[in-house]
């Protein structure tokens, strides 16, 4: 089984070794620009370059982020060295020996990424070992990691002077090739003449990560890195099954982190290989599909793909990529998509605690990952309330259609849609889509002169049982 390793990174040799040791064939695509096309799903991805098409069962992205070298303006005669750059070179003679101290600065103009602290400490120690006088200026010392406190103490013992400066006090000028750095800590103004100013870099995704993310339709967080903003895909997964990211956050991995991420990812791949096929699957009715690309756009897992091989082009579901969240079913304008064993069936399952014969006041549609768990926690304490309601779990709030809510309102006085908190949805924006459906129903109710409060919506996590209890009490 091929595993494609994509991107340029210092961990590639180690990763490919580990993959081989675990019985995989590692295929390396170091230059992302060489990848011209991409399609397929877990177990069978197809990666196209100018020369060839390579099949891979799984993909691991290792492309290093870019670092943006520090710049000070106006341009100094002794412009600052980039910390990341310097850390990859031998300490030796890049700093001319003129007797002036080396100044390492972090957190200017903005907070540096935490990883910079360990890099700076190591470099500072290396310089101190060469008998250089080192000043370490930072607003924070980020030592929340194993061995980092020890490293910090070593650095202090080696004679490095640490100064915690106040944010807006950093100032500099240069004069005759000497750079003077000025900062204010809480006790006074400190002025240091240096010939070697090293500053922390900022880390950005960069164009390669941009490119591959777009090509593979990978979801990115606010800062542009792949994955990361959703707990469910921690530590190395992405929104697409079978595609993993290692080491995307920083150009230089904290050694321990990279190793454990690699071990974890390879074991996750093995586990994914073992995953049995689901009994439920998504079907697109070709006679209804309008080929509008809506499902393709909204699928959080990039599991819909156009099928041009049929008589008329139609959308089809990549069943190995599909998470069965039901969002496409809910949002297809032509109603062409169904999941066999879909929401309707689930609605027929009634919570065993409630009595089935009498008509109930309240119907709760709750996400199985959050609200359902919270409800289960309060079942015993609020059993009387539970007698007045029917509960149905859905795999994602996004599965809930306006039409379904309306039909439920014929049987129940009230409907509560209880989904995950923003950014905690396993399918990323399923909870928000549920909200839109609820809003639509409320508008229709209002237009029909009915009480729009008959439909309620709430976002909870599994650890908010009392919020569920309060909400139910309010409704009933």
């Amino acid at each position: 089984m091929n595993v494609a390793v994509i991107g340029k990174s210092r961990i590639n040799p180690f990763l490919t070794d580990q993959l081989k040791a675990k019985g995989f064939e590692a295929v390396l695509f170091e230059d992302i620009d060489s990848i011209k096309g991409f399609e397929g799903q877990k177990g069978k991805f197809l990666i196209k370059t100018n020369e060839e098409k390579i099949e891979a069962g799984y993909i691991i992205l290792t492309q290093q982020a870019e670092w943006v070298s520090p710049k000070l303006s106006p341009k100094l005669a002794c412009s600052p060295y980039s910390l990341l750059d310097i850390s990859q070179k031998e300490t030796g003679d890049f700093i001319k020996d003129h007797g002036r101290p080396v100044v390492i600065v972090l957190d200017y103009p903005a907070e540096s990424a935490a990883v910079m602290t360990s890099i700076a400490l190591e470099k500072g120690l290396a310089l101190a070992a060469k008998k250089k006088r080192v000043f370490f200026l930072a607003r924070f010392l980020r030592t929340a990691g194993e061995k980092l406190e020890k490293l910090y103490r070593e650095a202090r013992n080696s004679g490095i002077t640490f100064i915690k400066y106040k944010k807006l006090s950093f100032d500099y000028n240069d004069h005759n090739g000497i750079c003077t750095v000025k900062v204010w800590d809480d006790y006074g103004m400190i002025s240091i003449d240096t010939g070697a100013l090293i500053m922390g870099d900022s880390i950005v995704p960069g164009s390669k990560i941009d490119k591959i993310a777009e090509l593979m339709r990978l979801r990115r967080d606010d800062t542009g890195f792949i994955g990361g903003d959703n707990t469910w895909i921690y530590p190395t997964s992405t929104n697409i099954k079978g595609i993993y990211v290692i080491n995307n956050i920083c150009g230089i991995p904290l050694r321990d982190d990279a190793l454990s991420q690699i071990a974890y990812t390879i074991s996750a791949i093995k586990k994914e290989m073992k995953e049995p096929a689901s009994h439920r699957y998504v079907e697109v009715d070709a006679s209804k599909c309008a080929f509008c690309y809506t499902c393709w756009r909204i699928c959080p897992h990039a599991a819909m793909t156009p099928d041009f091989d049929k008589e008329e082009p139609v959308m089809k579901n990549l069943n190995k990529a599909c998470n069965l969240c039901g969002i496409c079913v809910s949002l297809c304008p032509a109603g062409a998509i169904t999941i066999t064993g879909n929401l309707d069936e689930k609605l027929e399952q009634v919570d065993s605690l409630s009595k089935t014969s009498d008509s109930k006041t309240l119907k709760i549609l709750c996400c199985e990952k959050s609200a359902k768990i919270a409800l289960d926690k309060i079942k015993d304490i609020y059993s009387r309330s539970f007698e007045q309601m029917d509960v149905s779990a859905v795999s994602c709030g996004g599965e809930v259609k306006a039409a379904k809510i309306i039909s439920l309102l014929k049987q129940y006085e009230k409907v509560l849609v209880a989904v995950c908190v923003d950014d905690a949805c396993k399918h990323f924006d399923g909870n928000k889509r549920a909200y839109k459906q609820v809003v639509r129903v409320c508008e229709l109710l209002k237009a029909a002169g009915l009480d729009e409060n008959r439909v309620q919506y709430i976002k909870v996590s599994h650890a908010m049982p009392r919020v569920m209890a309060d909400t139910i009490s309010e409704i009933l």
Partner: protein, 333 residues
């Protein structure tokens, strides 16, 4: 078929146990308290208008799944007294409710006994008395786990002070390391306070601030009206309100400020009997009292999972415990 023994039924132990069980291994969890769940079971959600990524969602209904799984046997009120044998053939002596029991036919052992909270130990450097207006990190979590739709406190405080690094990064207290999790949970908790009570005054007393979310989180927090004072308070007079005495970093004057509620952001401390644990489990100790490997676990058959090996965040424990379980499953995963 041999079973795997999991010592400690907290987040790490249960995550590993469930992963093992789902891969057709038989698991026995030995838990010293009356129920599984450890510390995390009493933790609360820290979402505001959006998830703040505390990692708790990964836990979900873990405890239920573990309790229901047919491959997992749970012994509560039980403690491991000794481990005999070698990988593939361990025999363990367990003490429960006064009896002593022997469990044999174990091929692997996972040590996941977790950590102790610093506040349970006496503090030398910061003077204060116990008070219900001074709460620790774990009491904070219990508060959050009980959060209602509109209220967090029966009587909401107008001002909250967070004392960071309580017990951590303090050589004299012998917890010289950073506990890694306190900046995270206290910031998230503070955001929750703000969400419920927009006018609440929030002050952090800190030395350094670890990266909680992204590169500019500290500056973002300042923009959101969180006050940060870089100093360690000298003393606290418990009461209603509490009085905090500290040196103002700006002008070096001594300031006494009143705060309705104080939160001691305590860190992660090794469990009290770490020496005994290390000896019984054939593991070493690092300089901070956390357990570490002295033999490759693939040879010894004894694995570490979770905070027993050092401060770790929830999602890190989750990933690591899964990984340990998968390694034990060996050829399969």
């Amino acid at each position: 078929m041999a079973s795997v023994l999991v010592i400690g039924g907290g987040l790490a132990g249960c995550t590993a146990a469930l992963e093992l069980a789902q891969n057709d291994r038989n698991v026995i969890i030995v838990e010293k308290s009356v129920t599984i769940g450890g510390k995390v079971r009493s933790y609360g959600c820290k979402a505001t208008d959006r998830c703040n990524r505390c990692g708790l969602c990964l836990v979900g209904d873990l405890w239920d799944q573990v309790e229901r799984h047919e491959n997992i046997e749970i012994l509560t009120g039980a403690q491991v007294v000794d481990i005999m044998g070698t990988k593939g053939r361990f025999t363990v002596i367990v003490k429960t409710h006064g009896y002593v029991d022997t469990i044999s036919n174990l091929d692997h052992i996972v040590v996941s006994t977790g950590f102790d909270e610093f506040a349970t130990l006496s503090s030398g450097s910061l003077e204060f008395e116990e008070s219900k207006y001074i709460i620790t990190g774990s009491e904070l979590e219990r508060l959050l786990s009980n959060r209602g739709k509109y209220h967090l406190f029966p009587n909401p405080p107008a001002s909250v002070g967070f004392i960071q690094c309580f017990g951590s990064r303090d050589i004299q207290e012998k917890a010289a390391y950073c506990s890694r999790i306190c900046c995270g949970y206290s910031i998230r908790a503070a955001k929750v306070f703000r969400e419920y009570y927009p006018d609440i005054k929030i002050t952090f007393f800190y030395m350094d601030f670890q990266e909680v979310e992204g590169q500019d989180c500290f500056d973002d927090l300042i923009r959101d009206n969180f006050e940060f004072i870089r100093c360690r308070p000298v003393s606290i007079k418990a009461g209603r309100p509490n009085l905090i005495l500290y040196e103002d970093p700006e002008d070096h004057s001594l300031v006494e400020e009143s705060m309705d509620l104080l939160v001691l952001s305590e860190g992660i401390y090794p469990s009290r009997d770490f020496e005994n644990l290390a000896e019984v489990c054939r593991l070493g100790l690092n300089e901070n009292g956390f357990l570490k490997y002295i033999e490759n676990p693939r040879q010894s058959g004894i694995y570490l999972a979770g905070c027993v090996a050092g401060p770790r965040r929830i999602e890190e424990v989750y990933a690591q415990s899964l990984q340990v379980a998968r390694e034990i499953c060996g050829g399969i995963l």
